[in-house]
Symmetry: C2
Subunit: 265 residues, 2 copies
């Protein structure tokens, strides 16, 4: 193993999105990079895994001769699995970074995010991981502040590791670098999508439905990621993979008795 830390880089927007190029630039002096990214955009793919078809890996020259890079035909989660088990043959990875996503993954968007799901998958494999997202969907987004903070946060995790978690969900506000006040370690805000569908008829006169919607924040807590972002901070939510709602175990325990009474055997 080389002395430089080994950093796995992935995303969900595909190899030629500006976000991953900027993430590579942020990280390339901090370790040896291996980039494995989807060969097509995979936004909102959540934690999807490909099982019913085989996957492909193609070596590409996307970041110059010093950065090994592969395109993968699968989802962001597939990229992490293939990188770890096929390309690295289970060699120890020091850090996985995913992004920089074009668009917010704050609040409940973490559930839908391919970017953070890739980082979550790496964390399940025991690799400390960070998902980075910039609150700007534009291809021409300004990544200066994102690169600045990504570099510092990556350095921190390489030097200190993570306490009590293996995954950070980092979101960067759409602001010039000199207006960002710093970083807040915080919790995921309550929020939800209010959906709508555009309806229409296709050229064969068949009805179709196309998803659209607005994101609503239901939570003004000053300890949330949305509050941090709205107030000019980079938000960092320490996250994990356990969806158990612990207080509800006790409060729903009467279900056990209800079933026992209903059972005739």
């Amino acid at each position: 193993m080389s002395k430089k830390p080994l950093i796995l880089v992935t995303n969900d927007d595909g190899m030629f999105a500006p976000g991953i190029k900027n993430l590579v630039n942020a990280a390339k002096e901090l370790g040896e990079l291996l980039v494995v990214a989807p060969d097509s955009p995979q936004s909102a793919k959540g934690h999807a895994v490909t099982m019913s078809v085989p996957l492909r890996l193609n070596k590409v020259d996307a970041f110059g001769p010093d950065v090994e890079a592969y395109e993968c035909s699968g989802t962001p989660v597939d990229c992490v699995k293939l990188a770890k088990h096929v390309l690295l043959k289970d060699r120890e990875v020091d850090l996985c970074i995913s992004g920089i996503n074009h668009g917010s993954n704050a609040s409940v968007n973490i559930i839908y995010s391919g970017t953070v799901s890739a980082a979550l998958e790496a964390s399940l494999e025991g690799i400390p991981s960070i998902g980075f997202s910039l609150l700007d969907y534009s291809f021409e987004a300004d990544f200066e502040a994102s690169v600045h903070f990504a570099k510092i946060i990556i350095s921190y995790v390489l030097e200190n590791g993570l306490s009590d978690c293996k995954l950070l969900n980092v979101n960067i506000p759409k602001m010039p670098l000199d207006q960002i006040k710093g970083v807040k370690v915080c919790r995921q805000a309550e929020g939800r999508w209010v959906e709508d569908f555009t309806e229409g008829l296709d050229p064969r006169k068949q009805r179709y439905f196309w998803l659209t919607g607005n994101f609503i924040v239901d939570d003004n807590g000053p300890d949330t990621d949305i509050y941090a972002l709205t107030n000019g901070y980079v938000s960092v939510v320490p996250s994990w993979h356990d969806l158990t709602r612990y207080p509800a175990i006790k409060s729903n325990a009467k279900l056990e008795e209800y079933v026992a009474k209903s059972n005739n055997h």
Copy 2:
């Protein structure tokens, strides 16, 4: 609104999987059912959402004249969104049930599961939801015990609602009904997939990788879903959508200072 509760039914194995037929049978006397299920198997699709292509809905006669049913061209999460906003035009839904999945969604499998993601999506829409999974992948699986317990658990939730959560992840052991001891309300066990890939050459001599793997349980806690299932109980994990690792907020707060020191502005 009719007096019968309105129950939305979905799954990830598609409309013609035995699991959803059994779930419809379990629920049809308990309310008015609307079934919206994928038109192709969607296992391990996680919380994927379709945004880049339009979606289709086709009415089908899958469960006889008393049960309205639609096939959807998208993911399980898409099914829930289309049902709620297009078919039901935001009419209030009393319960969403998803499954019965062919195969376990206990432990960390909840993260990958299309079945539970559909229920989670409904819970984000404010609908009390239950994901049901049977620990048997076979098409010929015996659903007798699953139907028995699904009926009781659905009745419980319709009568009592859920406390402190809007989502139950229910797994049923692969056992005859008379050997199942009851229900345990419990937490998600720690576990992980140890991946492997089958490598090969396709007919055009191009290399492919096909996912395979074994599930490892790292957690022997008697309060876990895996423990309940192994010991002859149906497991019920009250779940939610918040991936924040709360104890890690405080323990990683020194990142805020580290960034402040690193910043030159």
